[in-house]
Symmetry: D2
Subunit: 295 residues, 4 copies
């Protein structure tokens, strides 16, 4: 697949997260002036509605002494979901930055030191940093999900929790977002290395396509799989080029022409729909509410 498609998948996930956050923020941004047990003993409901309108927030239609805490739990869950997305992207970038892969690197300033013990190493430590913080964010979600069952019209046990998790979860996620955005903006992308890594598979990346071409010509899946796998295993274990092995096997060439085999091993052929994926995804991300909808 292309590196761009990888990023597009992430972009689409962040569009979903933006929509989730918008919903959750609207749910949590409500006020109440309904008194100590929610009965409006001293003030009329109209006043609450007017005040909330002026503050440009919603109002809690039926409240106790407090706005109900499911609203806040839903919000912290969304913050934790976003953190899990950032973790996912960072884990992938860490993989791509490994010594053996080296498809991307964190930007490395001219005067910057590498690893203290191993001067040649450029660790993706900022990505690791983002990965770790997602674990902390999950902890805040656990606390938020426990925070709803207040006794009677309220007890104050939610308060001590919220003094920790509201500032800590929002500040942590803000840090993660800022850091990851900076990392992506300055990311060093080694296109040549991507191509080289693809070539390392000596054609094996196209075995799935070859399998399907064979079955489309009438071979049973079992027979096709056996053919395709045998050469794949030989390439894997003994080296050599997969396409060469395939072209040398009459059992395959009597079913597929050289042109058909070439097409099965063609990157352009495999990636011909990438632009269409981009089009349909970006179109939807501009209108998150209709994303993935049925009609």
């Amino acid at each position: 697949m292309t590196f761009g498609l990888k990023l597009l998948v992430y972009y689409a996930e962040m569009c979903r997260n933006r929509a989730r956050l918008k919903t959750a923020l609207a749910e949590a941004a409500v006020g109440k002036i309904s008194g100590a047990v929610g009965t409006f003993a001293h003030l009329p409901p109209d006043l609450e509605e007017e005040v909330c309108e002026r503050l440009e927030i919603g109002f809690e239609p039926a409240s106790t002494q407090v706005v109900q805490r499911d609203r806040h739990a839903a919000l912290i869950c969304v913050l934790s979901l976003i953190a899990a997305s950032l973790e996912k992207f960072s884990v992938e970038f860490r993989h791509l930055a490994r010594t053996e892969v080296r498809e991307v690197e964190e930007e490395f300033g001219a005067g910057q030191k590498g690893s203290s013990a191993m001067p040649h190493k450029r660790n993706p430590w900022r990505f690791e940093n983002v990965t770790g913080l997602a674990r902390v964010m999950r902890g805040y979600a656990v606390a938020a999900l426990e925070n709803g069952a207040l006794w009677h019209e309220r007890d104050i046990s939610n308060s001590s929790v919220e003094r920790v998790i509201f500032p800590d979860s929002t500040a942590t996620l803000d840090f993660m977002l800022t850091r990851l955005a900076g990392l992506v903006e300055t990311l060093v992308v080694n296109e040549e290395q991507m191509r080289a890594n693809l070539d390392l598979t000596r054609g094996l990346a196209f075995s799935g396509t070859l399998l399907l071409e064979l079955t489309e010509k009438g071979l049973s899946r079992e027979a096709a799989y056996a053919l395709v796998q045998r050469h794949a295993m030989d390439t894997w274990d003994k080296g050599g080029d997969y396409r060469d092995r395939v072209l040398a096997d009459p059992a395959i060439t009597e079913t597929l022409s050289k042109e058909e085999i070439d097409r099965a091993f063609s990157l352009d052929q495999s990636l011909r729909h990438i632009d269409a994926i981009f089009d349909r995804t970006l179109e939807r991300c501009d209108e998150p509410s209709s994303e993935g909808s049925k009609s």
Copy 2:
């Protein structure tokens, strides 16, 4: 407050949960036929869209080998949020069913045994049951939130998790919902005991209203608080009726007439807005999408 208002608060919370669930189910109900790495190497995107439309599900605009797992994590978080709501309601019913409170009771069949060791006791064990299961549901949310960061275009580590948490979280929540619905339908509500418990406070429940009446007449909040609290503490510590103590204090009666004091101690007065709260809440629950909105 009224018992009905308590239930209305819960009803409104379940309306929010219904809206959350609807959104999360739509997000999770998407399909993909984009191949092993999401590139549509063998089939065109149009086909995926057509198949998903026939299945009446959405499609994943940009996918890898799998539909992205943030969709499922969001859903399990919502299931866990719903469980936390049921926990909250059950904790309250457990409180109201205590020996010292007895405002509600779980229905107790004629032939049913009570506690094995204490035959007179009717434990709210089904409510306790629902309370406990919310803890298990939070555990599934933790696992779901960790399940997004698959390596590359997929690893299969999510699969073992989902084989546990998909059936277990949905079956557990279904059980909780069914059980709690049954409990509420057959709940024994002791209206007389509610009134008796209110009377137990010997008027103290109206101290807040009295405080506000005094301040509206021009007393500083400090002065009013001192007056109101002194009699409250005496009532609390020495017994007697709070209203009687208040009526016997010239410092209060020179500010408030007997009619005004009567009004401060009137339940009807305190509850005069209950119907309005019901109206505005039920109206909104019928259209959850506009609930608490600004315009």
Copy 3:
């Protein structure tokens, strides 16, 4: 049961927690000077052992670049366990401080205000505070349990997590312990109210004892249960004193003498083993390592 026994159960739990903490601290207090990948490429193992001995900590027998993180996860789990114990105690004190129960109260300073909206109320807000923080502590345990699977000889993802959860979990638990200790030291215990609440059950608290006395005299458990429960339910529903109802039932008095019935309703009889429980528990708590052991 007695209030003292309740506290003894908590005391025994804290003895277990102390033993757990001691073990976990010893496990976590280890050092390493084995180099960037744990091979002692530059220094001999002896030096590590000597340095750690001087620091009065253990050493990590086989390490990578870092001390292995299962040690720290075990410690944070213990901190979270202790927090859960404090939550348990606080929940019980909150129950006992309820308006309808009032067996204990948080100390309330002479000049201290009560609830702002309800001047007569003395909320157990510090106990609620401790209850809430246990939720936050569970979140740190989740993060710690995720922190072990570092890549290769280390990645640095654990570091960002530990910068949050090490100070936050230890400071939070310290606050909880200090607060709860202070609350218990100054707790207002209403002995008379305890007795009054016991009397509220009008003898029903002894129904279990009566049941056993009947079965010891040869009645089948079913027959005894039916007898005992019928009067219990009548007492519960219609009022009156349970013991009076029992004494008036020939089906019971022909099995049990008045003395035997008196004994069944005797608090002294029920509590005759309390001192023995204290003795055996305190003896064990002084030597936590042998607590509950078999020989």
Copy 4:
């Protein structure tokens, strides 16, 4: 480092886990026959102690209606810690099994199919499986940590939780242990590939050793780092062999002799303490109780 040392680190971690499990099992394996509220109203404490002794379990010195749940929470935390260790090992094996690394492989039966879509691929799916289940295990720990705060001498809310988490956590961990043990026993270890991967770094793996040798000869750390890093970066960016670059730099050779440089690049020299690490670790694992102790 050596592959054996990697495994030794895991072995030592499992020794710690064994000790933790032993302690936690002993803590949880206690009984009680102290009656409905823990007062021994009907039976003497001696009887409880005698019965528990015959059952070869401990007894709960001070109990309520139930054995206190901190004991079970401590046990489930340990099960979750063990699962986190298995996750850590599996993540490492997954890394080592990557196409670009290939130092280990899951055994692949002769007749076994590879990936359905990509016949050449041998996915480490069993390791992925173990990784995933650790997430589920963390969820059970969350539920267990919430399960202690029962109301009064017991409520039954812990029961519904334990019916899920006791069988599910023990069965899941048993599966994980069995699966991982089987994987390790049949693991395909590619020693040649390990050597080849090491050579891929073209000597860079020894940069840290070189740095220390230079500073031992009196160079400031800054000066030595600058020298060492410059050649490391050139090797990284332009190819070539790191040792050759070092030997060609007079600024280095005037400080270190060829023999000293050879020693810095010697694997034998780097690994000379491995046997000692094995000795001291295995010695301690046989007596886990004294592991890492100070004297």
